[in-house]
Symmetry: C2
């Protein structure tokens, strides 16, 4: 298996991307990582590191994409950027999947433009995995589509369900719609219409879920538009960090606190690991005709390693094909329904 | 000053509402609370409690509103419910403000229907106060309007700014628009249009704020539509609870953890107090022609006490009149602008 890595993408690239790639190929027997980026910088980063040399390849690219560059301008003018060439490699079947921690808007637009959507899918969506009291859940869409129609949310639900079944190994994932009340009638225009569609879909739809229940682990898949999904994802990340800081500050203000803190340190470390985005690797862009992982901009080597691991798993299980089958099965059912 | 309290509203009513009222009148010299609800139940709750008897009054109401009852049905059929009669009391100038922890949809619709909006305001909005690393901020709208236009968000910003100035005593509150990126162009259709309006408004607009920065205390007022505001409010509440539970579980799993936990308990308690909704009392429905506080459904006596305190403060400072002046000032400026 070969993974194309946008080695210039991310706040700590290329150091973090190269380190992540090196650590990953050491773990796997049959994995090759192709690094796309500035050859001299990549060679410098690789120098002195130990890894099976036939497992890491470099493809030189000459253009750089800024974190604030628009997708339109990048697609038009940066055909030799690391992200473009990495996605091209999947299209040309030189790689099985692509991973990028760079400008996520550009990465998504490039994947959509070059690879296209899976058959039957109208809009790809980002599926983020997040921790709860009881285990993990899938949040979809975590930021690909800022304005959605009810039909888009329906497809996100089908895709999220397929992803959860395949990757989190849940037989009949409980799919819930993010809203502001549990009753059918609660929500905004978008969610009220989407509710009706989800009720008829061939998934295990459990109804609306409120914000307060998202992290208690009631649902396996939480469906929402990409604007609210992105706000939820980032707010939660920010809030978890702030809570830890507030707790530390409280502890340090207490006479016996410092000792307590020392004793609690392993627990805090474990907790941080459980809630750390880097543990879950990147988030796949589902609905693309291929495997594409969007990683956090602040990706550490560990985050890159986990993103590569997710890419391998998705590619091995051909999740994009399963999604296409599920969506097409759904369209077939619709046709029968319309005829009947 | 007289406050009308919907004594039957909330999960723990009337026990919690009556206790909250009793505790409050003991603290204030010049406050009277009028309890609206079932007379026999309220008398039973008051029995044996010590308080200045001229400070608590009972007004009997005969109808009950369920937590899932629709506002339309309640407005039409429940004219002798505790919430309706409590709001009527403000309209009839028998009370200066109203507090309810009951069905919030019904409470908001009743306040809007009976009291109307302040001059110049199109849509009232809920302003919730939340904690950050640096202090408190105002989230507006926290759930009154599920579908909004850019103009609504502009008015929320003006109202939130007036509220923050008056109640949190900040001279020129920093007002930010909740979005998925800091640049002007990031966001959905609604926020991109609202951004343009906010830039021209007579407030201290600091641009977009991302979810990750909401709790770090960068903004004094965070503006968003009521759907996303409600999701954010409830998700944060739920996540804070889950994080505490996860931490406790981590600690209990460690050999030295139990001792650490004992030593840390005061810090955890302080932290919980800082993040507890009950500390901040209810959230005002701003833009109403009067003072109306919507309290959490799970309100404890302490939450009711704090909601009554907020009601007193808003009413004393005539925040609804300040808001009306600010909004009208804004409309005047618009006219001059249009003529110019």
């Amino acid at each position: 298996m070969k993974i194309a890595l946008d080695a210039m993408g991310g706040d700590y690239a290329p150091a973090a991307t190269v380190d992540g790639a090196v650590e990953t190929v050491r773990e796997y027997d049959d994995l090759e990582v192709i690094l796309f980026g500035d050859e001299s910088q990549l060679k410098k980063e690789l120098k002195g590191k130990k890894y099976p040399s036939h497992c890491i390849h470099i493809r030189h690219t000459s253009q750089i994409i800024g974190m604030h560059e628009s997708p339109v301008s990048a697609l038009r003018k940066k055909k030799d950027s690391s992200i473009r060439r990495a996605v091209d490699a999947v299209k040309l079947k030189e790689a099985d999947a692509v991973v990028s921690a760079g400008n996520s808007g550009v990465a998504m637009a490039t994947a959509l433009f070059v690879l296209g959507t899976s058959k039957g899918v109208d809009r790809p969506a980002i599926a983020a995995i997040m921790p709860t009291l009881k285990g993990l859940f899938v949040l979809i869409d975590a930021g690909a589509n800022v304005d959605c129609k009810p039909e888009n949310l329906l497809q996100f639900a089908v895709m999220g369900s397929a992803y959860c079944r395949t990757i989190l190994h849940r037989q009949e994932p409980k799919v819930a719609l993010l809203s502001i009340g549990e009753e059918d009638t609660k929500g905004n225009e978008l969610t009220r219409e989407a509710f009706k569609l989800l009720k008829e879909a061939n998934i295990n739809f459990t109804g609306n879920i409120e914000g307060k229940d998202v992290f208690s682990g009631e649902a396996d898949v939480v469906v929402c538009d990409g604007f609210i999904g992105n706000v939820l994802l980032k707010t939660s990340e920010g809030l978890a960090e702030v809570i830890i800081k507030m707790l530390k500050r409280e502890i340090e203000g207490q006479a016996t606190g410092k000792l307590g803190y020392l004793l609690m340190k392993p627990a805090l470390r474990n907790f941080k690991k459980k809630t750390d985005y880097a543990e879950y690797g990147g988030a796949p862009l589902l609905g693309i005709n291929g495997t594409c992982i969007i990683s956090h901009g602040r990706s550490s080597p560990r985050a890159i390693r986990n993103a590569l691991r997710v890419a391998v798993e998705l590619s091995r299980k051909k999740v994009h094909k399963i999604i296409s089958e599920d969506i097409m099965g759904f369209h077939e059912k619709e046709k029968v329904f319309a005829k009947g």
